[in-house]
Symmetry: D4
Subunit: 251 residues, 8 copies
């Protein structure tokens, strides 16, 4: 796919250092490993900046064990999301000792070397109940190498709590705003700062919050321009986007 690599390969063929058959084989040998039920993508971190991530729901214990063992054995960073504590306890003995489980974030992290520190991402929540989603974002960001500023429970019902944190918000490169119920926090932050803002609706609420649909719609319709929205409770996705944006400021 990469023109330079293909060109090198073609040069080798041209110089008969490689037969056409060998070249064809090479072109096809894509760097993933086939576990029959799961194709592990060992080059993803190189390609997209995000390591292979395992979404746990719907996978059986044997599948998870097999996938995680394989990934850990390759030496790359590994993230598993939405893993219940119960599942972790059953997998623990099969995984390397260096694996860390984050209970509130429901995440498992395997990371060889601590990443170098970068610009800050502010992770803000409207309420205390939104914290698990914010922690999924935090753990992901720290694994990817972004610094994190946590500002929790600053919903718009008590606006002064948010206004008090404006300086911290304005000194971050990106802001992840996590809110359930009516999700107004995102619009208010969007009107107060320059930075890119990523809205994460949460399923916190009841009745006509429809498991997070209401804050999702509210964030998509924000009157403050320049807000990107991710799926309900998707702290992980918000962190991936925030990290990619954060990286742009590094150069």
């Amino acid at each position: 796919m990469n023109p330079d690599n293909i060109k090198k390969l073609l040069n080798q063929v041209s110089k008969n250092k490689l037969s056409p058959e060998q070249a064809l084989q090479k072109l096809k040998q894509l760097p993933y490993e086939d576990l029959e039920f799961a194709r592990l993508d060992h080059h993803r971190q190189l390609r997209s900046g995000i390591p292979e991530v395992v979404f746990c729901p719907g996978k059986s214990l044997p599948q998870l064990k097999s996938i995680l063992k394989k990934l850990c054995s390759t030496g790359q960073d590994v993230l598993a999301t939405r893993m219940s504590e119960d599942v972790f306890k059953k997998l623990k003995s099969s995984l390397p000792g260096k694996v860390r489980y984050h209970q509130q974030a429901h995440m498992l992290v395997f990371q060889k070397k601590p990443p170098t520190c970068r610009g800050k991402v502010a992770v803000v929540t409207a309420g205390t109940s939104d914290i698990p989603v914010a922690l999924e974002a935090t753990v992901t960001l720290e694994t990817l190498g972004s610094g994190v500023e946590q500002i929790f429970d600053v919903g718009v019902a008590g606006l002064h709590r948010l206004l008090d944190k404006l300086e911290t918000l304005r000194s971050s490169r990106v802001i992840i705003a996590v809110a359930g119920m009516e999700g107004a926090l995102v619009s208010v932050i969007g009107g107060l700062v320059d930075q890119p803002v990523i809205g994460v609706p949460t399923s916190v609420g009841y009745g006509a919050s429809f498991e997070g649909v209401t804050p999702l719609l509210a964030m998509l319709n924000s009157c403050s321009p320049g807000i990107g929205v991710v799926n309900i409770d998707n702290g992980f996705g918000a962190a991936c986007l925030a990290h990619k944006i954060n990286l742009l400021g590094e150069s």
Copy 2:
């Protein structure tokens, strides 16, 4: 229905001033007039504080003409909502000269004597596009006799515009907050003031605002407690509720 009246009636029967048949007839003579296709409720203003209101969509021109002429002839106050200018022009010549048409509010008002002035209701909008709904509320409030404070275009994308009007908000008895898009204005106001707040979602917006469903849901899920919500674009209903609340402060 009213025990005192029934008692009076029964007393008259007991004293043979009224025959049982006459009494039965009286009990049945409820004060509305039958136009065959519409039953005009002449005592409603007495009963519920709100005059007979004519919702125009779905009614034919001859029906509207007949209903409005009849109502105006009784001397009570009359309100017609969602009347297009086109319809008004066709009805105009059949109605009393005192009838007023409010173009932006799409309302027709017929009112014998100006009501006495009362406490203030603040009518606030997030944007300029929400003004027609706010005017429906304003016209209704003024017809019912409530004073109105208009604060337009103070949406949360520029929070300072709202904060600057806090004193006006806090000196009103009730606040009607009109907002489309994500409707965050209502939550922010609800967190800043003591007064009862009535949220009116509007169909201003596009795409995932779903003709006002998004601000409706957002207002219903507000993290600020004590907010009552009315139907999308229902400035009239919000005004009725606000006026009833306003009246409580008069005594």
Copy 3:
């Protein structure tokens, strides 16, 4: 935020009783306390008439324990909503003895002194299954200091039950009408009384009631003008609004 306070402060600065740095610090010291995961808003009761309320779902036991202990220790009134009996039993020993738990309403109340009695709020239900939501409203109202008239199981399938209670309804300042299924009770009450009516749709029903969406929509579309609607099963929110309205009649 409060101009009088700022003016006082500025006067002190002007008279050099306060240095600019101290004044800046004071302006920033907003009266909430930071528990890291929750910012407790000690002045909310002063500001909005409603004490700090803890919405329990989504908060861990340690978080709830920490938040509630802190709040109780400040001497203000405390309300916690949607607390299961199981959670209460686990928290009980950590909280002051004066704490009361209302099993059917799923609420915890901590209140130093009984509030002075005020005008009445009628809390009406369509059926027996709507009672838990009505009790959430009742407990909230009584904690805030409003008197309550309970009228339960008067749904429109047997209209005479409601008509029999008209006098009680008409002698209340505000009416909270709680109904599931098709929520017609709210419209019928709205057509019979003068008072502000607050509709609380409940999730009572099955099939196409969609967990309370049907009565919610029905109440929003009521043909009786002047009805404010709150979220599904939100007895607490209805009570906050009713209490604010009730207070207007006190002056």
Copy 4:
């Protein structure tokens, strides 16, 4: 399909009055006529009590002309629903003089002889705007041969208007209740009478009435047992059901 007819046929075959081939042919000759784009079902009235009905939307003028001419020429009763006045004017000259067009009901009727009079069906509306749907029911009922009692504009916002008509309601065999907005009329009627009640939600309303979805859901969730519901604005379908029920009382 009908065993008696098949038996007769088989008897004829057994007695060699009919060859097997002829019998097969007879079994296949079902009494409909093929216009290529529409199969006219001439025996439907016999089979289901309802004549062939033409639903006009989506059919081209030439198709309508051809279908209606054919049907009228067979001497059976013909109903066409949702025909705009504009379409009728273009078809008029091609149809028999006896054809009647009902402008408010948007229906065309062709009927050879007036049906014998039967028990009454009450057709009730909540508002004046619901009348076109009620007229679709009325015209259909009268064409099928049921007597009709019309009671219009008796919505629950003014309950006395409905209570005044109770005797008329109770002397009907079936009640068709037509209502938009929140559709509460149906539940209230259902709680007051013995008769089968058919609810027709209408698209009268705005905002969260969602073009009639709200009254539809409300009627389906009625707390009054024994209510059958038809599609939004489906006066025709309600009339068919009411007529079938009415016929049961004739025998």
Copy 5:
């Protein structure tokens, strides 16, 4: 409310056999009993042909016990719907021995004397999984006094199964058609018979059946005219309507 009764009462007042105060009292003494949390409607059977029915979900065990004991003690018929076997076992000892519990229908019935037999109602299901809803209808019908013909598992995927039962269908007075998935059974039956057809959508299915929304919508849009629809899984409501229709054929 009943004019004859009022007239009698007024006659007694006129003849001074009753004082006005006594008459007023009588007019108010409506025949229901107040259990504080539930108003039992002892005259409902007289008024609407359907006995008082207890919808169990959302009621506590003590509430159910108190309501059912009271109702059974009055000698009227009693129906309780959606009662789990577990709840029944806990209530059993407090109720009269004559109480019957129908496990598959989740219903409790208390009935003093067997009703006289009447015309038949056909209860038809598309599949075996729809049977519990059909049994709710059957038990209700038999308690009310209607005869029942059960025709189960005749869905349209094997049309011959239904066509084979046409004679039974055509000899019933009313047909209740119970179907989940796409609910096509109702339309097919509606096209084959004269009788009133009541459609009961069920929550049988998965994915895009949305817990019964799909057959509900399908039945509401049936191309066969004259079908009344009830709520999802509402066998009880369908039976009430069918019984009322069945009664019309008795006279």
Copy 6:
């Protein structure tokens, strides 16, 4: 229903080899067996190419046992879908030894002789969590007699994994593409191959995937023409359609 059979029958009647009564009886004797609660359709395999399939949810254990025993005893192939392992364990002892249970596919299969091998159907999944649905398709296909190529975990987030399998895809007769989340796999495959593609949305995902609604809608709106879609998680239905298509290529 089949003209040839009827003709033969009529010939026999004509030749008096069969009395009309016997013929009528024969015409009515449709080949299904009545278990009272379930009508088993023994000729379905002959008629539609798919054996009788038992959808387990909503059926009681005794019903399942009775249905499956009867079906197995007739010697035809039997499939049961969505049977939990728990249910299977309880049924096992009552069923023939040859019955196989597929744990991940939640299916029970009873098959007398292995079918002859035919063209291949490719069953592709976007992720590992989609595998249970893919296995329902696989087991169904193999029971019906189609060969299967399994290609799992080739979602579009790593496009090279899919492109690598293009030859396998292109050598299949039909492709079943199973995907949750946004279901983009189906469109991408549809743009790369000639074959008929059947999309199976799965409930894999969270938040705004709405239990599979999102991939369902995405597949229905695919920009690649020629894609047929089945219900969410309906591996069985996709396999039936794929097998019917596969059979066309056999002739």
Copy 7:
């Protein structure tokens, strides 16, 4: 992408008939043409059996003119869908004389040579109003080269009309069933035939048909296994799938 082509290319490079740079260039020269606002895919017919199809809504007249002229000039077959007659009249003069416009199907077809005749696809509609969608399928099928059997207006309200056409249905290779309202036709056909059935829901209907959502859901939940569904009113997509299936029977 195609291994054989790459291998040939690599062989040429190996034999130095092609420089690596030229080979790279060739690998990149994909056969589409860039009109800046539209990339015309000249090899699509070769690749997927379906010619380039132009979806007209949302494209400006100049864009349509430019795209269609270019496509026609290449000599391949061209289809344009959802083109209003008005647009066609404005484009007509710019296009080759051989272009045909199908008014009822809203399609434009440009086809050099008539395709060879193949197996038949039955296109069935429930009503007359569904015919435009059926014609979109018919025109597409005939352009692609499939024979078509049209069977219109055989909805399940008059089942005999469909049963009469069973032989025609059973002699087709594939069946496209087009239905609005409740879409039951698809399930009934699916239960009667062996062939693959493709369901096309249409927006014919009103109220709770929700512009075709109801038949769409009904078809997805069909109790007859083996039905593939396409988007609402998507006659074109159904035809593409049917043609691909039809082709499998040719070999």
Copy 8:
């Protein structure tokens, strides 16, 4: 709000250069201008990097004229979105000559000096019909000062068109992907590149695309991590977010 400014102000008060009253006044004088119906926010560009933007729908012609004249007179950049050509023609004469109207993007731009050139934002569309939304993004980006790479009509039905543009995509700082129908383009791009990707669903499509809901949901559920989504057809919002991200790479 800004501590430095407050400190300066307080210093002035401390030095008695400013009286407390004057200071209070200054603290309140926020830099917006009040047109009664619209509050123009002259400092927004300074505060959030985005100039004041006028959303035209719902605003009357006189309102638009007044707002735009005022804004243009201040010398800042002005953007107006969703302005129909008709409206522009009526406003044209009242606005400065330098105003530009972009017909396909429905935007009006007033810009004093061309911004300095920065990194590139790639704006990609799936189809030709998505171009108007892409142009709204393009015009916004260019007004804000970001460079734009346009890549149109590269939807996944012809994957080679997209793969051919990979180098252009990979050399951009941010990618805006605009797609209707099933929106799969966004996921495919997200899996191929490192850059932040912003998904813009469009209302291009029909039937079950539900005016853009389908691509909106698909993008929110993308299996490619790191995608931010904006409202349907919101090219403007996507551009604001992309520009903010682009700016981070400038430093």
